[in-house]
């Protein structure tokens, strides 16, 4: 494309299929204790 550069084309809805395993880190166990930072965590499910 000439005018648009896509940084990520990850489609969230695709994670509905294999998501929800719950193995990822709890956000308040990482480096915040007073805000909610779920988006900072990484997925641990290789099928996702």
């Amino acid at each position: 494309m000439k005018h648009i550069k896509t940084i990520t084309n990850r489609v969230l809805k695709d994670t509905m299929k294999n998501g929800g395993c719950g193995e990822c880190q709890t956000s308040c166990q990482s480096a915040c204790k007073t805000s909610c930072t779920v988006g900072n965590q990484s997925c641990e499910n290789k099928n996702n």
Partner: protein
């Protein structure tokens, strides 16, 4: 839903419901705002005199292509899905163990009332901690990775119990097919070589509390007994520990308040001192506290995040980057939508345990006895509290419905919502404003680095 903004010279378009991120030129930036519900002819007309017909048609076609690929103007289809997700059996996978309700610092903003959580001083016994780990294993279902944070007060004031609990946890791993990830949150006063060695062997993450520049840290974090500087005691030890962990798997973590609205200087102070993993977040306080962040501080704070983000890009490009926790975002491999919608897990997947073995929804609720959910002897005795937390998600919060950041903060912190509005399905507005800014900056940094790589 599309969120578009300009930051640090980049025109960024976030397609909220798919999570796709695009960097666009000025023309597409304007046309995207006019795209929905309008034909190409109408858009050509709208920009007549500003952009040529050919240019508008070309941009319009590119936007349409992304729309058809499910990367722009996607719908939010997750509400029925999250309802089915909430029906799953509840498992517990993370505990915050309040190893010591006591502290050797007298931090003025401490939500834990200088370690005592508005109660009495107490240390967790090995027996209580052992029951907590048994409770965790017994209630974790098929989850393999279990997280235990040694928290306080100051957990190193009861470090023998920490060591015993780590050994006990390890003894449970093989037979139960579990893997404990232990973490330690410490103010550093009692850190010594023995604790560092132990932490490097057993702790998957260590959170080191310090607020930044010496004068800022010492203003809010004096030594409790003498009121003297804590910075001089802790900084050499924190540097040593960070180096001994090869600058990984730790965070130096600070709090900024109304008294240091120029907090980007504190973050950069840490970076200049050699720390590579940094987390500094706003204080959460009642409006009556003189150090509380106020609405009129927001513009200054947002500007600070912009300054910090631009500086991080500059340093990363020069090969001298560092991680700022609140700008970390994994655009390609971040959490699944189920996780993003259900939030931090407080009150169901994540619980706090007091020195006496009472269970609370999270560390921030400890001390508010209305929220005692059970104890390590009997397990959950008030399932209605768990049910309330489990039912809470992005869709139960009115304020989140039209917010572009809802898949990044996942509805925000339940404790903050409760403390400001008396229920967990509201949102702490000042916190939301800052979170939205952080998400914008985080995405900009990714865009800038992608630019660099091409």
């Amino acid at each position: 839903m599309v969120h578009q903004y300009k930051n640090n010279g980049y025109n960024i378009v976030l397609d909220v419901n798919s999570g796709s991120v695009h960097v666009v030129d000025d023309m597409v930036y304007d046309i995207i705002a006019a795209y929905e519900g309008h034909t190409v002819e109408e858009v050509v007309c709208q920009f007549d005199g500003k952009y040529s017909k050919e240019d508008v048609e070309e941009c319009y076609a590119e936007i349409t292509e992304l729309k058809e690929a499910g990367q722009l103007f996607t719908e939010d289809i997750y509400e029925p899905y999250i309802d089915s997700f909430a029906d799953r059996p509840t498992v517990v996978k993370a505990l915050c163990l309040h190893i010591a309700h006591d502290c050797n610092l007298g931090c003025k903003y401490c939500f834990a009332d200088e370690g005592e959580y508005h109660g009495r001083r107490a240390m967790m016994s090995f027996e209580v901690g052992k029951k907590a780990l048994d409770f965790l294993v017994a209630n974790s279902g098929s989850r393999r990775n279990l997280e235990v944070d040694f928290f306080g007060g100051e957990p190193t004031m009861n470090f023998e119990v920490v060591k015993q609990l780590v050994a006990y946890g390890r003894s449970l791993e093989e037979a139960n097919n579990k893997k404990f990830r232990f973490t330690l949150t410490t103010n550093g006063i009692l850190l010594n070589d023995e604790i560092m060695e132990f932490a490097n062997k057993e702790m998957s993450n260590v959170v080191l509390s310090c607020d930044g520049r010496k004068e800022i840290n010492d203003m809010m974090r004096p030594v409790r007994s003498s009121g003297r500087s804590s910075y001089d005691i802790i900084m050499p030890k924190f540097k040593k520990l960070a180096e001994s962990r090869n600058q990984m798997n730790y965070y130096i973590r600070g709090t900024f308040t109304h008294f240091n609205l120029d907090f980007s200087k504190d973050v950069l102070h840490f970076a200049d001192e050699g720390f590579e993993q940094i987390s500094v977040e706003p204080v959460v306080a009642q409006p009556t506290d003189d150090y509380a962040i106020r609405e009129e501080d927001l513009d200054t704070l947002k500007e600070q995040y912009d300054i910090l983000a631009a500086e991080i890009v500059k340093r990363k490009k020069a090969g001298k980057g560092f991680n700022f926790f609140h700008f970390m975002i994994d655009l390609q491999g971040g959490p699944c939508v189920a996780k993003r919608l259900s939030g931090c897990g407080s009150g169901c997947e994540y619980l706090a345990v007091t020195p006496w073995g009472d269970l609370y929804p999270c560390h921030q609720f400890v001390g508010n006895e209305d929220f005692i959910m059970g104890n390590v002897d009997e397990g959950i005795t008030k399932p209605e509290i768990r049910k309330m937390f489990k039912a809470s998600n992005v869709y139960t919060k009115e304020k989140c419905k039209n917010c572009f950041a809802r898949f990044y903060c996942s509805g925000g912190c339940a404790a903050n919502s409760y403390n400001f509005h008396g229920n967990i399905n509201d949102a702490y507005d000042v916190g939301c404003e800052l979170e939205r800014k952080r998400v914008e900056c985080a995405i900009m940094i990714r865009a800038a680095m992608a630019d660099e790589n091409n």
